[in-house]
């Protein structure tokens, strides 16, 4: 019975380890960067899950097929929770809606459209993203022109366009 309930808790233990290692590594390792700290945290959580599962397998007599099924279920749950944590961290980093909310939160009297655009606008959005993409090697800047540097972001963009087509039947929110 204890082992069964421990199985339920494993993904959450993994998530706590993921978040702790991510925050600790980001705070202590200089120049690590947010993204790399997220990867390290995720791998640490994953490692802890395998350790606990190994302990369970070595101390109980659960049939192998059930052990594999529970391991897969826990890995899916942990990966999903880890992805949610990743999204939460990046929410404050890249989400436009969160940035707008933050500007409104800082202005107790509220802001008209012009004031919002003074504080946060397309130019700032593009410059931040261009710098990130160039620094990550996803795009290359040469002689005033941009070129694709790595196919990773392009593949992601194509997957998202396919999902847009499946869900909304169009390639872009603007038709």
């Amino acid at each position: 019975m204890f082992i069964s309930y421990l199985q339920i808790l494993i993904p959450f233990i993994g998530l706590v380890i993921d978040a702790s290692v991510q925050m600790l590594s980001f705070k202590t390792v200089a120049r690590l960067g947010l993204l790399k700290s997220e990867y390290i945290g995720f791998v640490a959580g994953l490692f802890s899950i395998f350790l606990i599962e190994f302990y369970i397998i070595s101390t109980t007599l659960i049939p192998l097929i059930d052990v594999i099924a529970l391991l897969i279920a826990n890995l899916i749950t942990y990966s999903s929770l880890g992805y949610c944590y990743f999204s939460f961290v990046n929410l404050g980093e890249t989400a436009r809606r969160i940035r707008i909310l933050r500007e409104l939160y800082d202005s107790k009297e509220g802001l008209c459209m012009e004031k919002i655009l003074e504080r946060y606008n397309a130019k700032e959005i593009i410059e931040k993203r261009i710098n990130r993409l160039v620094n990550n090697g996803q795009i290359i800047y040469k002689d005033g022109r941009y070129y694709i540097g790595s196919p990773v972001m392009l593949s992601m963009a194509r997957i998202i366009v396919i999902m847009k087509l499946i869900i909304f039947g169009k390639r872009s929110e603007f038709g």
Partner: protein, 173 residues
């Protein structure tokens, strides 16, 4: 095995219902409707499984019997639902980075001129639609000509500010 089969089965049913509904009607507050669909499917599914647990078999796999199995099904379902909902906003709204990547790809081997890249992406495309989303989701409201943050958004923003202060990260966006 039953945990895996029945939780993934319930997620699949919820996703099909969501796709079907979106084909006939696109709700104004999409995230809230998604939550209703997914959590409604989970609650209904668990009740049905519990009621027919002794007789139900899918692909040769019997319905779950123990309480811990239902808990594990619920956690797996909820974690997948939350990750889908967090991805959904990135699918529904055009991400500036992905639009830039697609524009640069379209430009081909000649590359895309910096001025053209900036000219193609305006406040009307990048900022104003997101303000409209916030108003539609009632996270922001209009008071005269001023936009103000709604009470339900304040907790979210405070949590994010606290987290970023803990890590020493400045404003993002």
């Amino acid at each position: 095995m039953s945990v895996l089969v029945y939780s993934l089965g319930l997620v699949f049913i919820a996703f099909l219902m969501h796709l079907f509904l979106w084909k006939i009607y696109l709700p104004r507050n999409q995230t809230t409707v998604l939550m209703y669909i997914f959590f409604g499917t989970l609650i209904t599914g668990v009740i049905v499984l519990w009621k027919f647990s002794t007789s139900l078999t899918v692909f040769g796999v019997s319905a779950p019997q123990a309480v811990w199995e239902y808990l594990q099904i619920s956690f797996l379902f909820v974690s997948l639902t939350l990750s889908y909902i967090s991805t959904y906003s990135a699918i529904a709204a055009d991400s500036p980075s992905l639009v830039m990547i697609m524009n640069i790809t379209k430009a081909g081997v000649d590359g895309l001129d910096r001025e053209k890249l900036f000219a193609a992406m305006t406040d009307d495309l990048l900022v104003k639609p997101r303000i409209r989303d916030l108003v539609n989701a009632r996270m922001v409201y209009l008071d005269g000509d001023k936009y103000k943050i709604a009470a339900k958004s304040i907790l979210l923003i405070r949590i994010l500010i606290l987290y970023r202060k803990l890590l020493g990260i400045p404003k993002g966006g």
